[in-house]
Every structure is written in C-alpha cells, then in structure tokens.
Amino acid sequence: MILLSAILCPFLGAIGLFLLKPKSEKVRNPYVMAVTVLSSVLVALSLFIPGDHQHTWLQVTDALSISFRLDGLGRVFGGLVAFLWPLATLYGLEYMRHEGGENTFFGFYLLSYFATLGIAFSEDLMTLYIFYELLTLATLPLVMHGMGGRNVYAGRKYLYYSLGGAALGFIALVTVVHYSGNSNFVYGGIPAMMTAPMSVLLPVFVIGFFGFGAKAAVFPLHGWLPTASIAPTPVTALLHAVAVVKAGAFAVIRMSYYCFSPDRMRGTWAQSVCLCVAAGTILIGSAMAVREQHLKRRLAYSTMSNLSYVLFGALLLTPEGLRGGLMHMVFHALMKISLFSCVGAIMIQTGKSYVADIRGMSKRMPFICAVFLFCAIELVGIPPFVGFQSKWALATAGLNSGSVFGLIGMGALIVSAVLTAIYLLVPAVSTYALPLEPTAHLEERSYDPGWRMKVCLGVLCVVMLALAFFSAPLVRFLTAVAGGQF
C-alpha cells in the first residue's frame, strides 16, 4: 500500500496544482516542494520497510493487470529518482522564475515523477509499457514549454521518436505476453518463455531493444535528444539526463534480464547487433559532442554516449556487465544532472550558452565553475572519482565476457573517454585557464546563482565526493542486484 501511495502522491499533487493554480510563489513553492519531498519520503520508506509491497491496482483481463512490486532493480532506479527529484525541483523553483508558466510546468513535472515511479516499480512489462507511454505524454508539455517555434519543433520530434520507439516496444510486449501470459518480471527470464522458438525471440529482442532504446537515445533513434535540449534546464537536467533516458535503459534491462532469458540470448546474433549499436552510439555521441558549440546540446550528445555505456554493460548479459551498467546509471545520473544544472545557471545568470563564451567565467561564477570542473573530471573518468569506477567495471566486464564485441566496446569506452576529455574537460579548464572574453560585457560582481541552486549542486557534489572514497556499500548492493538477489 505504501508503494502505491508513493506512486500516486505526485499524481494527486499535480491534479491539486492544476486545480489550485496558485498565483503567488509563496504558495506554489512550498506546495511543490512538499509534494515532491513527501513522495520521495514515501519511496524511501517503502525501500527500507522490508518486503516486496506487491499490489495489484487494476485487473485488466484475467491474466493482465496493472500492478506494482518492489525488487532490486526497481529499488535502484526508484531510489535514484527519488533522491534526485527534490533536488532538481529545488533547482527548478529558482530557474523557472526566468521562464514563467510555473503552474503548468510544475504540474507536468510532478506528473513525470508519477510516471517515472510507475516505471520503476511496475511488476510486469504491461504496466511498465503503460507508464512508459505516460511518461512521453507527461514530458511533452515540458519540452514544448514556452511554445516558441523551436520548442514546438523539438516537442514534435520528441513525440515522433518516442511514439515510434514505443510502437517497436509494443511488438516486444505483445510477444512477451503471448508466450508468458502475464508478463510478470522474473530475474533470469520468465520461465514460460524458455520454450519459445529462438527464430521469433531473436528478431523481437532486437526490435524491443531499438524500441525501448529510443528513449535511451540509441542510434539511430537518438535524434530527439539533442533537439530537445531546447527545453528549460530542469527538464534537460532531470528528465533528459536521468529520468526519461534512464527509463529507456531501465526498460531495456527489464526486457533483457527479466523477460527474455539472458542465458539464452548470450552469444546470439541479436546480442551482437545490440552491442555493436551500443558501441557505435558511444562513439557517435562523443564525436558529435566534440564539435557541438552549444553547451546544452553538447551535454545532450554526451548523455547519448553515456547512456550507451549503460546499455553496453547491460547487453553483455552477464551479472558483471549489468553491475557495471547499473553503476554507470547511478553515477552518470549524479554527474550529468550537476553538469546540466551548472550550464543552466550560467545561461540564466549571464545569458551565455556557447562554449566559447564561458572562457574565464570562473572569475564571475566561482562556485558554478568549480562544480563544473569537478563534474567534468568525474565524467572523464579520472581516478579515484566515481566516473572512473563505473568505467573500470564496464571495461573489465566487457573483457571478461569473452566476446569480441566486449573488446570492441572496451575500445569504444577508451576512445570515448579521450573525446570526453576534449569536449568537457577542455572547456571546464578554459573557465579557469583563459582570461575572460572582453566582449562578454559582464560586470565586476559575482554572478553565482541563489541559495536554491547552490544547495542542489552542493549536495550533489558532496555525494559524489563521498562516493569516490566510500562507494563500496553501494557497489556491493548493485552487485547483489545484478546477481538477482532482492
């Protein structure tokens, strides 16, 4: 019951916000914060209260239902989202002052939270699919927020790609339901699907990978992500770096480990195709990011590349690979949300949004630039920080998988790390090493943002720094999850 209340809390909150339409910030901010924190607290409670909290919400047919259950993988994704959402909301409350339309925005922001929690805690593929589509619809108004020509274009592109991907995912869903009856997740594959013919399963696996991978920006269905970076920063930071894209990766993991049997899929051509696509996406994303001059689009390409790290790890179809993928899923979420938040802060405080404009910015925004540099170092994978740990886990998993595609992926990781240094570390260093552009027209004062953004970024940095040295318990937990415990 507590799980259901955690999922429904943001939904009811959103309805309330739509009905109340508070005029003043003094009402809206506490309300939005309270709903978000309450949901996160409920999620945290359900994570720590033992048991799987199974709850069938709606019986659709005899076999099919909308039902929720808490398992290891759901704990990882749900916990991650519940940790980040209040922080991003805090950030967003300050940010959206500059954009306007807060009531609509936070209404749909809460709805997205609802949909994401639904994805994290769904018990079967059917429920997951429904919330997956809901997430697309809930985030669409956020992407189109502002309703400028480019926003609408980005929204349309996002819709086409997401719905197109979901259509492919639907094929996988139908196949799974056909063979298994109720599509309930079981680690290691649904037993009823063990007898299904490989000639059907393999093409469906590839189709499902591309379908659910569309949200994780897998080549060639990645085009929406850089375009959608036009959205307000709280959206790009939380949804397009964490919730939406990781929901895509999460769905792929659910499909490959909890519906299809990883043991049966290992070594097939379907796995090879998926691994190649993931490795290719890693390289394409990084290579595009190097030339991209718009900061947010550059980060969006980087997200595309990093999401494929996660997919690559997951598609090795070994517990070790899944462990690496989950590590990168968690760590990348922390790093990327901070990076986007820094860039967003620079954009609203100084109006600069291109790489060349932030040279020497540390003199005007010391706090933001310090965080930016720190996160850049993390993302490149400089030891002992978290980015290094997950990359090490992924690369060794690739090597130990014994497949030649694992080796290819490992090479892609290394090349991508070099490219990451070029597209992220070089600009981050340039905020310190180079003088301020004389044409920047910035006054002699600190442009650092207000306390809300600083708290959000500060908490994230402290967590990352702590994880750099004391990640062992978290890694143990992720290892257990990847091994099918919980």
Partner: protein
C-alpha cells in the same frame, strides 16, 4: 584499512593541506607557501622514518580493500621509501625556495594548492604496491601538475599546457587500456609477487598490454617519440615547478618503466632491447636539442630528456642482462637519484636567474653569475655532476651504466652473437656524455665568463640574489652532489642495495664496486675529451657566424609536423562519419516523407487520371471534319507545311524582310487553274475523239458493206 596508516597519511596529508594553503593564501600569498613548507617538512620526517625502517628490513605496508573498486595497496620497501624520500626532499627544497621565488608572482594560492596535490600523489605513487594503485596516483599527479605549466597564462604557456593536458589524458587512457588487457588480475597483484604471476602467464600474452602501459609511462618520462611536450612544458613553468617536473615527475614514468621491465616483462631480452634502443635515441636527441637551445631553462629541459635516455639505457640493460644485472640496476637507481638532485640544483639556479633578471634567453642573462661565488659553487656542483666529472656523483652512475653496456657486449660475444649495434651504442653513450659536458659548458660560459653588453653593472650589483634560507637550502643540496661523489661506497652502493629487492636484480659480482678503477676513469676521460672537442668546434663555428642569429635551431618539430596534423585529420574524419550517422535517420525520414508525398499524390490521382485519360481518348465526342477553306486536302496540307517552313525562315533568316507569301493560297490557286484547264482540255479531246470514232465507224460500215 589495515597496515601502517602512516603510508596512507604521507600521501593524503599534503592533499588535505592543499585547500588549507589556498584558503590561507587568499589573505597573504606567502602563507600558502609556508603551508607548503610545513607539509613537506612533516611528510619528509615521516618518510625518513619509513626509509630507516625499510633499511632495517621492516618494510611497512598499507591496504585499503575496495578503495575505488579494486583496493589501494602501498608498501615502503627499500627502493620505494628511498624514492619517496627523494620526492619529499625535492618538495621541501623547492618549497623553501618558493618563499623567495613567489614574492612577486601572482596566483600563489593556486600554485600552492596544486603543488601540494601533486606532492601527495607523487609520494603515493612511489609508495604504491600494485599497478592499480600506481595508476590511481599517476592520474592524479598528471592532472594536478597541469596548472604548473599553465601558471604564467601567456600564449606559450597555454599552448604548452594544452599539449601537456592532451598527453596526460591520452597517455593515461592508453595506459588504462593496457591495464584492462592485463590478464589474470595482474593489476592487483602486489609488486613483490608480480614477476612470478607474470611468468605464469607468459611473456607472449603480456606484450600488447605492456606496450600500452608503457605508452603512458613513457610519455610522462619523456621517452622518444613521446617527448614532444617536455621541452615546451618544463621551461614555461615557474622554476620550482620546473625542478619538480624535470627532477621527479619524469621519474614517475621511469618508475612505471622499471615495474614493466623488471617485474612484468622480467627475463624478456626483446623488451629490454626495446627500452634500451628508445633510451639511446632519447639520450642523443635530448643532448642535441640541449646544445642547440638558446634558452637557459629549455637547455635544462632538453638535458632532462637526455638524462632520462641514460636512465632508460640502464633499465634496458636490467632487462637484457638477466641474472647478472646487478651493476646495471645499481647504475639505474643511482642515476635516477643523481638526476633528481642535479635538476633540482640547476633549475633552482635558473630560478634565481629568472627572479632577479626576469629573463631566460641566454643572450639576455649572460654574465649574471659573475662575482657571485656561492651561486657559482652551486651551479658548478650541478654542472660537474651531470657532466660525469670524477669526484662528483654523476660520474659514478654513468660509470656503472657504461660498465653495464660493456658487460652486455661481453655477454653477447660469449654467446657468439653480433654485437655491432651495442658497440655503436657504447660510442653513443660516450658521445652523449660528451655532449652533456658541452651544453653545460655552454651555460657556464654564458653565465660566468661572458659579460652582458649593457646590464653587466646591474647584474654585478645583485649581491643578494636570494634570501638566506632558500640560498642555504640550495647550497646544502648542491653539496650533496660532491658528497655522494667522494663517498660512493656508503651512498651510491647504499642506494643500489636498498633497491635490489624491489627490482629483483642480481648482486654485482665484485663488491665493493671499484668506482675509481682505471677503466672507469678512462671512460669518463673519453667523454670529457669528446665534450671539450665538441665545444671547441661549436665555439669556432659560432665565432665565424657571430652577429648572425642562430639558424641551427631544429626546424623539424614532431608535434607541429606530425602529431597535430594527424590528430586534426583524424578528428575531421571521425566527425564526418559521426555527422553522417547522426543525421542519418533525419535524412531517411526526410527522404521517406518526400517519397511518400509523391507516391501518395500518384496513388491519389490514379482514379482521376484514368477518367481524364478516358475522356481525352475513348470517350471524347467525335470531332466533325473542318471544311477546307481553300483548295483540296492535299494542297492545304502541303501549303500549311510550306507556310510553317516559311514562318520558321521568317523567324530566323528573313527577320528583316519577311516573306509574305501564302503557299496555301498559291497552291489553291494553282489547283484551281489546273482543274479548270484540264477540264477544258479534256473536253476538247473527247470531242475530237468522238468525231474520230464516228469517222472510223463510217469507214467500217463502208468497208463491210
């Protein structure tokens, strides 16, 4: 965490002191430097304790399982404690010197912050117990030292810093790739058991990973062909940082090479040979660059390249000589320690020059050292040491290395193999020693013999060229060089025997080593003679071309002519491919959209089209033939054709005077006339015929009847 936490603390305390120094430095810049001095002194004291404990055979170690995934492991055995001590000493002395050097510099807090970070990482690196731990500290050290190179923030420094950063990152990641590929978890096998574990795997499977790991360490050490960053980065840093970059950070790369050669690839002749050859090239190249350089610090930086080449020759010998590599190992370690001291002294001398004159080009600083006996003494200790003059420490280590080469030649001759290459290498070794003397002589003459054309009086007036404390530190450290030189059995052999177990080297055949044997003295003499002769030749050449600006500087820069263009090309190709792939789906969608529109229109219009076509053909109402206006069909058709032709002519050739003639009418008239006349004619003939026939008929009737 288990074991002696002191080992971890010596690496972490400087890193923790770094923010403190930055914070204190905001108020008063020198506070930051004092934090550096204090931290370095504290760490130094702890390191000496560790060294003493190691020398007594009780090597301390520390473990932190699960740190950064694979765990951190540190051990202070003889060699590692010794080198960590050298690092501590270098930091202590440079920090003390910084008290003076940074009096008038900016961004001291930043410098102190990153110096302390690098300090912690470097000490940690030299104490590290597994390849993984080494790599962790190596990466932190590489990146934390970047702000040194960028410190001056002028274009030259920024460019050098950019190259430094790229080399650090690419080198680090290639090394990481090599570590990934190391089989059987060799990455986390402690160095004490590494050679055994590696032997169990077999050298064949280790070549590729070892080469990749060598890439990063070689780049840091400045080995050919990855030396490009070194002559640019070392001179632009502040002098204390230059001393650290040259004296100790390059040794971090050498440390990695030692691990690879003596532990991972132990017993592989080919691997030792590779390092040996790279060493010979680096040795000669660096010395040649140093001779040709016209800048005080650049000469010293190129000299570092050359000396690293000497050390690499030693490492190669350690690998090639197998069990009999005792002398080579002693020489390698000795030369590492010596070179650290030389570069410390020489770069601090250069720093003294720079902070007094604010110049570094040789033509600008000539005559600075005149009438400064203490300065001259310090410089001479470093110069004579590095040139390998007997009674100074460089002579000892170079002699050992030279003996190592001779031993290798003898060894190979005994096996009946060709030794021509190694014979040549021996000559190259002596030549490089001579070149060392040559460029140090160049610097000496410039600083202490020549006079500055305009500023000599000003230079002579700079009696107080440094504060007493930094000056004392410099002189004290310079005095170590002759001290080692005259007490070889205590110090030099001591360094060697401390390191023997870590390098898993054999014991030299004849202990105590005869450092001052006739053979060794002869080798040193050869080098000195070569050096003097070389200097004489260059001096004569230089006199002839006096006044002309030196054109001998090597125009061929590997970085500008090879690496940067290749990288640029690669980046463009990569970007092109990625761009096409990135936009692929967009283009496909666009194409499909267009195609769909066309096909849709086509399909949509099929019914209508069929109806239209039918209307035009089958279902069209029958046309009534138009009456011919004039003439008959034939004349009308022909006339129309001809009129058309005439119309064309009128449009083209007869534009000016168009033909106004209607063939239709003409043909019609002709037809009319012909019809008329023929009718007349026909009529007349028929009449005649009728008459004729009647006549015939009458004739016929007459004849018959």
């Amino acid at each position: 965490m288990q074991g002696n936490v002191l080992l971890f603390l010596v690496a972490v305390v400087p890193m923790l002191a770094a923010p403190l120094s930055y914070a204190l430095g905001r108020k008063r810049a020198m506070n930051a430097v004092w934090v550096m001095v204090t931290a370095a002194a504290a760490v130094m004291a702890a390191l000496i304790g560790l060294l003493v404990s190691a020398a007594q055979g009780a090597a301390q170690s520390f473990q932190w399982d699960g740190f950064c995934g694979l765990g951190l492991s540190m051990t202070a055995d003889g060699f590692r404690a010794l080198y960590a001590c050298v690092a501590g000493l270098m930091w202590l002395i440079t920090s003390v010197f910084s008290l003076d050097y940074f009096k008038h510099e900016e961004n001291v807090g930043r410098y102190a912050f990153f110096t302390l970070m690098t300090f912690g990482a470097t000490v940690g690196l030299f104490l590290s117990g597994t390849l993984f731990s080494t790599f962790l500290f190596f990466e932190v050290m590489s990146l934390a030292s970047y702000p040194w190179v960028a410190h001056e923030e002028d274009p030259a420094a920024m460019r050098a810093a950019q190259t430094y950063l790229y080399i650090a990152i690419i080198g680090g990641l290639v090394t990481l790739m090599g570590l990934f590929l190391l089989p059987n978890g060799l990455v986390i096998v402690s160095y004490g058991e590494l050679s055994g574990a590696a032997a169990a795997v077999g050298a064949d499977r280790l070549w590729l990973p070892a080469l990749l790991v060598l890439f990063g360490f070689g780049a840091k050490a400045g080995s050919f062909p990855l030396h490009i960053w070194l002559p640019k980065a070392h001179p632009v840093a502040p002098a204390p940082a230059s001393a650290l970059l040259s004296g100790i950070l390059t040794k971090a790369g050498v440390f990695g090479m030692l691990v690879l050669t003596c532990l991972v690839m132990k017993g592989s002749f080919a691997w030792g040979d590779l390092i040996f050859r790279l060493g010979v090239i680096t040795m000669l190249l660096g010395a040649a660059l140093a001779i040709l350089s016209g800048n005080l610090k650049r000469t010293l930086a190129c000299s570092s390249l050359s000396q690293i080449g000497f050390i690499m020759v030693g490492i190669g010998l350690c690998g090639m000589l197998g069990e009999e590599n005792g002398l080579a190992a002693y020489g390698t370690v000795g030369h590492m320690v010596n070179h650290s001291l030389f570069k410390l002294v020489l770069f601090l001398c250069a720093g003294a020059v720079a902070m007094n004159t604010h110049q570094l080009a040789l033509c600008d600083v000539q005559g600075f050292g005149r009438k400064k006996p203490l300065f001259q003494a310090a410089f001479l200790c470093g110069a004579l040491g590095i040139s390998g003059v007997p009674l100074f420490s460089g002579y000892l280590s170079k002699s050992l290395l030279h003996e190592g080469i001779l031993e290798l030649i003898a060894h190979l001759q005994a096996q009946g193999q060709s030794v021509a290459l190694y014979q040549l290498s021996e000559y190259a070794f002596l030549l490089a020693g001579g070149m060392t003397l040559c460029y140090m002589l160049k610097l000496y003459v410039c600083l202490f013999v020549k006079k500055h054309p305009t500023r000599q009086a000003e230079y002579d007036g700079m009696k107080r060229w440094a504060f007493p404390l930094p000056m004392g530190a410099l002189l004290w450290i310079a005095a170590l060089i002759p001290l080692i030189g005259v007490l070889p059995q205590v110090l030099m052999s001591g360094f060697g025997s401390l390191s023997q177990s870590f390098l898993e080297a054999g014991t030299p055949a004849h202990l105590p080593i005869a450092y001052f044997s006739g053979e060794n003295l002869l080798g040193a003499l050869k080098s000195i003679v070569i050096g003097l002769a070389l200097y004489g030749v260059l001096w004569a050449l230089g006199r002839r071309k006096q006044g002309e600006k030196s054109k001998t500087a090597l125009r061929f820069d590997l970085e500008d002519m090879v690496y940067r263009p290749v990288l640029k090309l690669l980046s463009w190709v990569g970007y092109g491919v990625a761009f096409v792939l990135d936009r692929l789906l967009d283009w496909v969608v666009l194409f499909l959209k267009g195609l769909g529109m066309v096909l849709g229109r086509l399909m949509d219009g099929t019914g209508d089209g069929a109806v239209y076509a039918a209307q035009k053909t089958v279902l069209s109402p029958r046309q009534r033939a138009r009456p011919i206006p004039v003439g008959n069909r034939f004349t009308f058709a022909l006339g129309t054709f001809m009129d058309g032709f005439v119309g064309l002519l009128n449009l083209s050739f007869y534009r000016r005077k168009p033909i106004e003639f209607s063939f239709v009418a003409a043909f019609a008239a002709l037809h009319e006339e012909v019809t008329k006349e023929s009718r007349q004619l026909t009529r007349s003939i028929s009449f005649g015929l009728l008459m004729f026939c009647l006549g015939l008929f009458a004739t016929l009737v007459y004849l018959l009847y």
